[in-house]
Amino acid sequence: MLRFILMRLGKAAIILIAIMTLNFFLIHAAPGDPAAVMAGEAGAADAKFIAQLREQFGLDKPLLVQLGIYLKGVLQFDLGFSYRQQMPVSQLILDRLPATLLLTMTAFVISLLLGTMAGVLASARVGKWSDTAISSLALLFYATPLYWAALMAVLLFSVYFNWLPGFGYETVGANYTGLARALDIGRHLILPATTLGLFFMAVYMRMTRASMLEVSQLDFVKTARAKGLKSSIIQRRHIFRNAMLPVVTLAGLQAGQLVGGAVLTETVFAWPGIGRLMFEALAQRDYNLLLGVFFVSAAMVLLFNLITDILYRFVDPRIRVA
């Protein structure tokens, strides 16, 4: 097992370097550069000034040399410096990462739990009205544009009812500590996490339902029934566990995308996360920062691929030995 993990990590490192190289060229293909953007913001700049900035940022070197410098840094666990924000990229990312992870993990867990639960419920009552209701609701969640739902949620719960804070990570300036702070953050989390979770909840629900129905047709379920097991036990022990295999795959895929997957939600809810950081970095052509975010995101994806595989081995004995 350990050897398996080490092998996979080694492979992942190589893939990561390839990915970063591709990303590097991708990002540099975009028009404009950070020097022009920064000069622009100063409200005045001549060509000489901009050239001076470029030199400072190392943008005057040939692209391949820049790539070499960047990759060398990455190999030494240095993601470079953001000249625009005047901070090391790693620090900028680490500052934002917790907020994003909190948001996306919460949404992830909510959607996974509620989605599979609803899916199981619907599959147990397939054809009945509760199945129709759950399925329709899921379809609705799936089809509603995320940002629209987000705006509506803010209007409803934040402005009209004033129940929940509509934006931000915590009550700024309240200086809560300990439990009070956790509760405060929790309140801020509700709206964004729910809106973000809706879509995936729908996806998990549908997948679970379909998978449960599929598995329930398999022969071993008939065997279980022939043993005289109660249908609740059959559902849980036989159908559910087997039906979860594809869901685990999907969940692994989603978990990997958690880092950058919440641009819209973070924007609407003023959530100080990585998604927004990435969007801003892109707008300002903050190359190092953008690459850094991509790096972290790619690393997350690869990590979660690995975790999924390990999990799979855990769930499915067939893979464990093969």
Partner: protein, 279 residues
């Protein structure tokens, strides 16, 4: 085929989906006849509420443009984006998946690593980057959506092809002297069609949502009236003019819903195991 339609039409949801989609398509096609004036034209005072004037049943927007005309023309763009990007994604994903699945070995390995790359950057983020690089225009948006949505196609096709590859009829085709290309095209791919069709119907829906999300972030084609654009533009005035985001929102919702229902209907109709049940 007739059998298929019979099965399909047994699914009430799918029929509703088809009807909704037909209406949307009709509106999109007939938009220039229904509303001869450009949807960008400022025709009345801004923020005219719905039903206030007969000619403008859904009101006007922040510049006094006719909302219902925008919806009709928006249907064109949204459907165009949805369909073309899906077709493009299929055109990329199917060959890659088919080659990887059919030949296996290092071909498979290389193609799958390549596919993985597109999945390491979150798809929405990648779409944003691509649109920013190529500058927002209908072509670049379609391209970006296609580029971020083909990997699942490739994976699906690969899986299907791998399982079909060892089917006896494929081996029979090999023995009968057909070339690999013929076998892939004639024996293998046609049999992966049903899961692809089902996936495609969902991808059209996702593409419409993706375009609208891009538009929302200001990365839409400024010369094209789309539903996403309408919602994005209405965001800032959501408080004084609810109808500006409501109607396009509902339009997106209905279309996506319709495509989903159709997809599910196809899924059921094409699934032999489910075919026998349900009336």
């Amino acid at each position: 085929m007739a059998d298929f339609w019979k099965r399909f039409s047994r699914n009430r949801g799918a029929v509703i989906g088809i009807i909704i989609l037909a209406i949307v398509v009709l509106v999109a096609v007939l938009a220039p006849l229904l509303f001869p004036q450009s949807p960008w034209r400022m025709v009345q005072r801004p923020f005219l509420p719905p039903l206030a004037m007969e000619q403008y049943p859904l009101g006007t927007d922040a510049l006094g443009r006719n909302v219902i005309s925008g919806l009709a023309y928006g249907a064109q763009v949204s459907l165009l984006v949805g369909l073309v990007s899906t077709v493009a994604a299929l055109l990329i994903g199917i060959p890659i998946g088919a080659l990887a699945g059919y030949f296996g070995g290092w071909v498979d390995d290389a193609l799958m690593r390549f596919t993985e790359f597109f999945q390491t950057v979150p798809s929405f983020a990648l779409a944003i980057v691509l649109v920013a690089i190529f500058e927002p225009s209908i072509q670049s948006i379609i391209a970006a959506i296609a580029i971020v949505s083909w990997p699942p196609v490739a994976r699906l096709v690969r899986g299907e092809v791998m399982s079909l590859r060892s089917r006896e009829y494929v081996e029979a085709a090999i023995l009968s002297g057909q070339t690999n290309l013929t076998i892939i095209l004639r024996q293998v791919l046609p049999n992966t069609l049903s899961p692809i069709i089902v996936l495609a119907s969902l991808m059209v829906a996702t593409a419409i949502l993706l375009e609208s999300s891009l538009s929302f972030l200001g990365l839409g084609d400024p010369n094209m009236m789309s539903w996403g654009y309408m919602i994005g533009a209405a965001r800032t005035v959501i408080r004084q003019a609810w109808w500006l985001s409501f109607f396009p929102g509902v339009a997106i919702l209905l279309t996506v819903l319709a495509l989903n229902l159709i997809g599910e209907g196809l899924n059921d109709a094409l699934n032999p195991r489910l075919a026998r049940r349900g009336k």
